[in-house]
Structures are given as structure tokens and as C-alpha cells.
Point group: C2
Chain length 332, copies 2
């Protein structure tokens, strides 16, 4: 009786929501919940750094250049453009919901967002800078000095602080309230019949064996090309590059399918221009199954219900460089 | 008596502000007033287009790439980076308060913002696209079709509509409430002694003969290099490129000095890295006067009071491409 009263009380104040929780619990995909930032000042600093092209040698490329938050947290290009228009070897994964990945990069070579954030800054084919020079730029700008000091209680700035702040911002880039989440939480009208049938097919065909959880992916490495090999001109070999083990060749991190409508083109080489093409390839290569046109359309319709509320925030205003700030070298 | 009552009434409801109006009226620089957008939906569409890199051939460069609204509406580079990392021939002028310029571009070859907006899209060394292809991209995206239809009452989209919308957004990019504006409006404490002396020197030396009005510039073309020639490796010849008249050689549009603290480096070739250097060069070449170190510092202090409230808005979320959208060609 006491327990029953307690449950009713919790229900009434909304701590637990019986129908939705019950429904979601039976599904391989869980609703995604809005981020609850621990430190708003850290997030704000991270946002500034995310948008600051002075972290690149050229002064032209910021994190947002390839993880464009106007466009689903990616650049919508097959492979990315880096310093001096370098053609990157791989397609930029979305930064949206990336905090839920088991590791970062397609090959998982960074264990978390903090470790990831340092990579592109120092990659000659991406931002083309060094951690030391990037930090020198920030140190020369009074507003950055003040913000770092307030947050880290230190007069110095180091790259670990920079990547801490960027990661804190990126952790807020979660996209709740998709139509599929509404359905998971009990709103039966949130999906139409085609979308529901697409979801059923998605589950029954085995897609959810990898694309599951709150992020609908991101939780494991899997071999790309199980039933037949994936044909590509890309030289990326996935997890093998990290472990050197033959068994890890062509093992890639399973991407999140959240906002997949926005994150075209698809696969690590960006070779699939459309969702239809991606679904067809995944069916054949990963599941040994050819979806007919109608089945393909249903799955695509379901996938488009995974588009969530995009992060909303003001474009950050960056503090100006000073006479002491090292100047960018776009053509040097 | 009736007139006196009327004036007192107007004063009391703030329609006229006697002390400030009187003060500003005697100054060669006028306060800048916040924009009053006529059509909020048009501004919103223009903002989306301003941030949309799909108006470039590469899908990577947007208006905001070189007129970065996080950084004073410019790229803070001596010359800009264009398609395939092309090195531009000239320094990107700020888009802030640009609606007040007598014409657009350093040589004034576009009569207004609408005419300007089409230039970079089709410039092979900037966005590298064509107007036709840019419009094809927009036509393929349902949300853009809907927005254009609502605004222009037409099923078609043409480049004139695109540049109308971009110009409408750019007209909102006005930066009021600088400390200097506060001083102009009667707040005597808004400037310190050094800044006031800098302003006095700025006026008395003749800087205000060109840098005047609400935008502190932008109102005329002037020859760069009056008392001695300007030495530069830049091939830009200013207004001569438009008129073909010898008298217009090295005639450039006088840039606005609003937010000049943010719009480094300076001059059409971006050769002056600091405000101190810019003030020194302008004194010698334009006024035949060498400012000593103290004078230079005072003028620089004054110039920094011209930094206004930067435009605040949410980063726009762009509608995704569809299967019909022509794909960008970053490396093609």
C-alpha cells in the first residue's frame, strides 16, 4: 500500500511517466533526453572556442566549419575540406549527440570528446595548427584569459583546458523531441502508418542489433561489409588503424542515426548521397537482404522521424585579437 | 505657449531628447541608430541564406565565411580565402553598418547591398558558383520554396529574390550603443580623458573630413596616398576599375570606422596589422602629418570607443537538401 501510494505520488508529480516509460522500455531505441549542462560558463567558453577560427593556422577554419551546427553538425560533404583545401580522407561525423558514442572518430581513436577536440586543431590536413600556437593565440586575448581564469582558477591556459571547454559545449548538443521520441513516450499519433511500418521493418530486419539505444548507434564497432565486401576508393581501414589487428580491418564505429536526414552523405567515405542508397547498401552488405522499393521507402520514412530539436543558441561574439596576438597564416 | 507645451510634451515622452540632440548636432559624427526591419520574415530568410554554404560551388563557403558575424563582420585576414583556397585580391570589408555606404565593394562597383550580394556567389575566386546553380539548389529545398513563395508571392525563385533577402538581413546589421554614441547622446562619463583628447585630435587633424556621419566613413571615395604614395604589392586600383578614368586611380571607398577595433587588419590590402600602424599611415599619407606616439595612442583609444553592440541572433538552422538537390563540388 505504501509502495502503491508512492508510485501514484511519483506519477502525479511527473517523476515517472508510466505509459511512456513502459512503452520505451520494450523498444531497442530509447528516447534521448536534453542535456543538463553542469557549468554554463564552461559551455559558453566552449561555444566560443568551437566557433573561433583562430584555433586554425589559417584563421579561417573552426570546429563549426566541418561540424556545422546550422546543418546537422556536419558539413554535408563526402569528405571534408581542411587547411589549404586539403581533401580529408573521411566524412565528418556529426557532432550532435556525439557525447553518447563509445569513442570518437570513425575508428574510435579518441576515447572521448575532450580527446577528440584536440585532433583536428593539430591535424595538418584539417586546422593545420599546433596546440602550442593555438594556446598562444588564446593567451594573447584578455577576454579569453579572464574566462579561463574564472573557470580553471589558474593564470595559465593549456590545451587540456581548451578541449575541456569544447567538450563541455559539445555535450550540450543533444537533440531531443524528435517525432520518434514523442512516439516512444506514448504519443501514438506522432508517427504515421508508413513510419511505423518502417520502424517495424527496421527492428525485424536486424538494423537495431547495431543501431540501438538512445543515440540509435554509436555504441559499438562493427565490420562494414559482412555479407559482401564494401567497395570504396577510400583508404580508411577503420579500427585496424588503432589496434593493428587484422580482425579490426574495416571495423568502424556504428554512427548514430539521430538526425540522419540532416547528415548526408552517408558512410565513412560519404559515398551514399541519399538515405535510400544508404538503406539499400546496409541491407545488402550488413544483413544480406535486399529491401524492395516499398520496404526501403518505409525505412527511410522511419529514419526521418529521428530528426530532433536542433541546438538553439546565439551566435557567439568573439573577443578581438590584440597587437600581441600571433596573426593567422592562411597562405604561408 | 502652445509650442513650448508641445516641446515639453515631446521631451517628456522621449520623442526628442534635447541635450543629446543638441550635442550630436555639433559633431561631425552622428549616433548610429538600431535598424528597424520592415519585414521580419524577409530578414530571417536572408539570415539563412547568409549562413548557407550551399550558395557556393564547394558547399563550404557562405557569406558568413568572409563576413563573419562572430568577428566584426569580416574574416580578420589581409585578403580573403575563396573557392579552392584562392587568395583574394583585396581585404573583405565589414558587413556591419554596410547599408550606410554610398556604394559597395572598395571600388564601389555595386550600387547597394542587393547588387553586392550577387557578386561573391558568382566570383570564381570567392564562392565559385553561378547564380543559376545557386538558385537551382534553393528551388530543390521545400522549406526555401515555401519561404520564397510566402515573401514574393511567386512559385519561382530567382537571384533577385535571393539578393533581396540577403540585403534585408544585412540592413539589420547595425551596431548602436557604442561608448562614443553614448557620449554623443549626452553621457559625459562614457569617454575618459584620453579618448576625448583622441576624438579632439581626430577632428582637428582632419580625419573627420572623410570619416564622418553616422558610419564614420562610407560616404565618399577618396584617393589613397595624397601627401605620399601608398606602397603596396596589391594590384587593386580602386575606382579606376569601374570608371576607367585616370583621375579615379587609387580612389577607394572610405571605410566605416565603426567597430574598427574588430575589423583588423586594415586598408584594402590588409597590410596594416594594428590600429596604431593604420593611424600612423593615414596621418602621413592622407594628412601629411606624423602623429607622435602619444597622439597616436589617443586616436587609437578614441577609435576603440566606436565598438558598438554586435548583432545578436540565433544561429539559423538550415533546411536539409533533398534527393533532388544538386550536390556541391568541392574538389571537382
Amino acid at each position: 500500500m505504501i509502495m502503491r501510494t508512492l508510485i501514484i505520488s511519483l506519477l502525479s508529480i511527473g517523476v515517472i511517466a508510466a505509459p511512456s516509460a513502459a512503452l520505451a522500455a520494450n523498444e531497442p531505441i530509447q528516447p534521448i533526453e536534453a542535456a543538463k549542462p553542469k557549468n554554463a560558463d564552461m559551455v559558453e567558453l566552449g561555444k566560443m572556442l568551437f566557433f573561433d577560427p583562430r584555433l586554425s593556422k589559417s584563421g579561417f577554419i573552426s570546429c563549426n566549419s566541418c561540424h556545422n551546427l546550422s546543418m546537422g553538425g556536419t558539413d554535408n560533404l563526402p569528405t571534408s575540406i581542411g587547411h589549404k583545401w586539403h581533401e580529408g580522407p573521411i566524412s565528418a561525423p556529426t557532432v550532435l549527440n556525439s557525447s553518447m558514442n563509445l569513442a570518437q572518430f570513425w575508428d574510435g581513436r579518441a576515447k572521448d570528446l575532450k580527446e577528440q577536440a584536440g585532433g583536428p586543431i593539430a591535424n595538418p590536413g584539417e586546422m593545420g595548427f599546433t596546440h602550442e600556437l593555438a594556446v598562444d593565440v588564446l593567451r594573447s586575448i584578455p577576454e579569453y584569459r579572464t574566462r579561463f581564469k574564472q573557470l580553471f582558477r589558474s593564470d595559465k591556459i593549456d590545451i587540456g583546458m581548451v578541449t575541456d571547454a569544447i567538450a563541455a559545449f559539445e555535450e550540450t548538443l543533444v537533440t531531443p523531441d524528435s517525432r520518434f521520441d514523442k512516439w516512444l513516450k506514448g504519443d501514438k499519433k506522432a508517427l504515421n502508418q508508413t513510419e511505423l511500418e518502417g520502424y517495424k521493418l527496421f527492428k525485424e530486419s536486424g538494423c537495431t542489433s547495431c543501431h540501438n539505444g538512445a543515440a540509435v548507434g554509436g555504441g559499438s564497432f562493427q565490420k562494414f561489409g559482412i555479407h559482401e565486401p564494401y567497395k570504396t576508393t577510400s583508404k580508411a581501414e577503420g579500427r585496424f588503424a588503432v589496434t593493428g589487428k587484422d580482425a579490426d580491418r574495416f571495423m568502424f564505429k556504428v554512427p548514430t542515426l539521430r538526425n540522419v536526414e540532416l547528415t548526408y552523405p552517408y558512410f565513412h567515405d560519404g559515398a551514399a548521397a541519399t538515405l535510400e542508397e544508404a538503406v539499400d547498401t546496409m541491407g545488402r552488405l550488413q544483413l544480406g537482404r535486399t529491401f524492395n522499393k516499398e520496404e526501403n521507402a518505409k525505412i527511410v520514412a522511419f529514419l526521418k522521424t529521428l530528426t530532433g530539436k536542433q541546438p538553439e543558441f546565439k551566435l557567439p561574439i568573439l573577443p578581438p585579437s590584440t597587437n600581441e596576438t600571433p596573426r593567422p597564416k592562411p597562405f604561408g
